[in-house]
């Protein structure tokens, strides 16, 4: 109990004093995850939509695979990305291992199936509703996808936010490909892991509270900016 309290106090102290290290790793956490969410959304949202609209032979199989990949173990993704980016690997020449870019890459792989699956689910319902109308109006396939993405944007926001939630708290993959290097690839989750290992529980807890606070603030901010949950609006 004492440790929890000490952690809270420590968190308060770090925030109030604008601790330079805290701000740096928090910003890096945000930078990595927000970039990964943006890239994964750019791939996953249209993909989910396309899968809802298009009928093709292996559609069921693709959707089932995508749903299964939602549970992709981050450590394994980290390992694979590590091997691909390491000096001996196929992309070794770019020297990306242990950089934020590597961390973003790993997170994009983890987040895309999740975002695509949730988007697919939401768009499928909207498509069932719009189907006859859009067919009747003689729209092209791309117009249908664009319409569904736009009219389903509130539901798609949820998909992206779910991706953010998974990304910001993720530690396995970014630890492996980022390496938790101070001033270079250290983020909140890897720092918590490190401080816990060192027995620095109050600092680890403080970082943990900051992480939770950050997730809440980002979600609230996005909801406010996009005016969801306001009556009479979609």
């Amino acid at each position: 109990m004492n440790e929890l309290l000490a952690g809270l106090l420590e968190a308060g102290r770090l925030i109030v004093t604008f601790d330079a290290d805290l701000i740096e790793i928090s910003l890096r956490s945000l930078q990595v995850t927000l970039t990964a969410v943006a890239v994964a959304s750019a791939i996953g949202l249209p993909l989910g939509c396309w899968l809802a609209v298009r009928r093709f032979r292996f559609r069921r199989f693709v959707i089932a695979t995508m749903n299964a990949l939602m549970g992709l173990p981050p450590v394994v993704v980290g390992l694979i990305v590590y091997l691909l980016l390491s000096r001996a690997g196929p992309f070794g020449v770019f020297g990306l291992l242990f950089t934020p870019t590597a961390m973003i890459t790993a997170q994009v792989i983890i987040l895309t199936p999740l975002i695509a699956s949730i988007a697919h689910q939401a768009i499928r319902e909207l498509w069932a509703q719009y189907h006859d109308l859009l067919i009747s109006m003689n729209t092209t396939r791309w117009q249908r996808i664009a319409t569904l993405l736009w009219d389903g944007r509130r539901a798609l926001l949820t998909a992206s936010l779910a991706g953010f939630g998974r990304g910001i708290g993720e530690v396995g993959a970014i630890m492996i490909v980022g390496g938790n290097i101070d001033n270079a690839t250290r983020v909140l989750t890897t720092a918590i892991s490190l401080e816990t290992g060192k027995g620095n529980f109050s600092l680890a807890l403080a970082l943990g509270f900051v992480l939770i606070g950050l997730a809440v603030v980002v979600n609230l901010l996005i909801h406010t900016l996009s005016r969801t949950e306001v009556s009479g609006r979609w």
Binding site: L126, Y130, D132, L133, S136, M137, T147, D151
Partner: protein, 239 residues
């Protein structure tokens, strides 16, 4: 109009779904003017017939639908109003502007024209409301404006007044008659005999997926030739 898409000739068209024949074979001609009312009991195939003519049902077997111009071009000159109006998650104004926007009209121009149409159907005050909060009657009027905004040559309506009360039905019928007077070919299904009497120029009576009668309204209501139609008009239950 020089390049009218009508008349439409339908030959031996059959609609099957999962091995079950829903409609046909149907052989008929949709003339280039008029207001036709499709009547028949529930499950007779009214909706399927309208969807078939509109190109939303695949023709099974060897049947065919033949417009006066190629089918792809003809599709753009038709519109459909559904029994339960489909409201897009947009403002009323953008719902009406949508068909224009997807067919090459600029957003600004589309909204100006949509506003005129909302005015015409009496929904000007609701322009900025989300379409999903409109009442049943307002929705159906919105759907009518959305269907008419691209000036279709032929308009199909599938029991548009089935869920409306008397006043909303009257308003809807007034708007529909205006569109008809402006030169739109109308094909509408209903099982409200009173509505059929008010509107019809000719009646298509269908039963078990077949068109049993296709006669001018006066003739149909005065002396239907088939026993099914007679029973239907008398108010008997036709099975």
């Amino acid at each position: 109009m020089v390049t009218s898409i009508l008349p439409l000739s339908v030959k031996d068209a059959v609609v099957r779904r999962r091995g079950k024949t829903l409609l046909g074979p149907v052989t008929t001609t949709v003339s280039d003017t008029g207001l036709s009312i499709v009547m028949g009991p529930n499950g007779a195939g009214k909706t399927t017939l309208l969807r078939l003519l509109h190109g939303m049902e695949r023709v099974s077997g060897g049947g065919s639908l033949k417009w006066q111009i190629p089918e792809e071009d003809a599709r753009a000159l038709q519109a459909f109003v559904f029994q339960a109006p489909i409201m897009m998650r947009r403002t009323a104004l953008d719902n009406v502007a949508y068909p224009l926007m997807t067919h090459g009209v600029s957003k600004k121009e589309a909204r100006v024209r949509a506003a005129e149409w909302l005015e015409r159907v009496g929904l000007a005050d609701s322009a900025q409301k989300q379409a999903t909060v409109l009442s049943g009657g307002e929705r159906q009027k919105l759907a009518l404006a959305r269907a008419l905004i691209r000036k279709p040559e032929i308009l199909f309506l599938d029991e548009p007044c089935a869920n409306l009360d008397g006043r909303a039905t009257r308003e809807f019928e007034t708007l529909l008659m205006q569109a008809f007077k402006d030169g739109t070919r109308v094909v509408m299904s209903t099982h409200d005999i009173g509505q059929a009497r008010r509107l019809a120029e000719d009646v298509w009576f269908i039963h078990h997926g077949h068109i049993l009668e296709q006669t001018p309204a006066e003739e149909f209501f005065a002396s239907p030739t088939t026993s099914e139609a007679r029973a239907f008009l008398k108010g008997d239950i036709v099975e």
